[in-house]
Symmetry: C2
Subunit: 221 residues, 2 copies
């Protein structure tokens, strides 16, 4: 296994890979054999697959939406790409681990919010912040300067109706070929799910909060 | 909103936050008011909450398991913590974005695998690699040198029976107080889910592979 081959195919994804949960009866050898053949099929198929700029969405009520987007950002940065993250909800004054890390390695990360929007007691101010924030996102997306832009927690702005989906769609439609856009947040609207190329839902199975354990530095923030 | 308050509570998590999907009838103002009150309750509660070292699991067949763990690793590194990632399946010779990024910022990342285990044509060799890999994980976990250790794709080794859960459990039981451990991979065994403090399932809603689009640099690897 070497990088060019990895380039051809996403090895973790398979439509006909044999899931041991689904097919517990076959032997391990048989499963491995089938997986190998399925993998080879996919390599063959993807030789003719198209490259395109993607819209990716991390949604759901579980953890890891922002963290996975941040991980992707750092990874793309590792590949020498031009990246940027715009965060809608987090306050400018907070000092999150992401921010600290981004500062250390000089990744562009911009906080557009003024605290947690849903905690505000002045909705009009939040709407205005959201509109101003979106303007900057639009500029960045259309600038042609980025390979990957993360719009962190944009979904809330859409959900609350402070920004119209058609405006987002138009910007995404007109973005340069090189620019992938990743959007995170709960309640991704159906139009966005429909539009996106890749959608992952994070579901919470278990959370330490239930066991009365505090949010911890380096883990939650 | 300032860091000490964030420290007190995970603002994204709530057990009684009002989900607009579930309660569409209440007004936006009412929802915000209830969320604010729920948030204040939680801050109060968590004042008495306990800090402890956590075991976190990212599982499910969707994307973002490794990426979210990697994001958490970089974030913890941003907080000045000592971190390390050990990867079971990825080959030493591959040149992934995570690796490149980790090298650039001097985060310890160790590949224990020799290619994709489930693609191997020599199962005995894979078993041996898994056993040797686990030994190193155990040393790192018990060393007391780390705040966060990610065991990437350890679940497969457990699933295939190449490593006994009780051995993992014993190591986790005996780990130093400072050490959080995050484990990623499909098919997390029930014992691990039961043992873990936080479990997130990543579900694939949509994948560009289905639209015959190639895996892309900076996005998938």
């Amino acid at each position: 296994m070497h990088p060019p081959e990895i380039d051809e195919v996403d090895p973790k994804h398979s439509t006909n890979e044999v899931d041991p949960e689904v097919a517990p009866d076959i032997s391990e050898e048989e499963r491995l054999a089938r997986q190998l053949s399925s993998h080879k099929d996919r390599i063959k198929k993807t030789k003719y697959a198209t490259r395109k700029n993607l819209v990716l969405v991390n949604t759901g009520i579980g953890k890891g939406k922002t963290t996975a987007a941040f991980g992707m950002l750092v990874r793309a940065w590792g590949q020498g790409m031009d990246v940027c993250m715009l965060q809608f909800i987090k306050a400018k004054t907070a000092n999150w681990g992401e921010e600290k890390a981004a500062r250390k390695i000089d990744i562009e990360m911009i906080q557009l919010g003024d605290g947690f929007t849903w905690l505000s007691e002045d909705i009009e101010k939040d709407k205005e912040l959201a509109r101003t924030g979106w303007k900057l996102c639009k500029e960045k997306i259309l600038s042609g300067k980025y390979d990957l832009i993360v719009l962190d927690e944009l979904t809330y702005i859409l959900k609350y109706g402070w920004l119209d989906w058609n405006e987002v769609k138009e910007t995404l439609d007109n973005r340069p070929n090189r620019t992938h856009v990743a959007i995170t947040g709960r309640y991704a609207p159906p139009e966005l799910i429909e539009y996106a190329d890749l959608v992952t839902e994070m579901t919470e199975i278990k959370h330490p909060y239930h066991a009365n354990i505090k949010a911890q530095k380096g883990i939650e923030f």
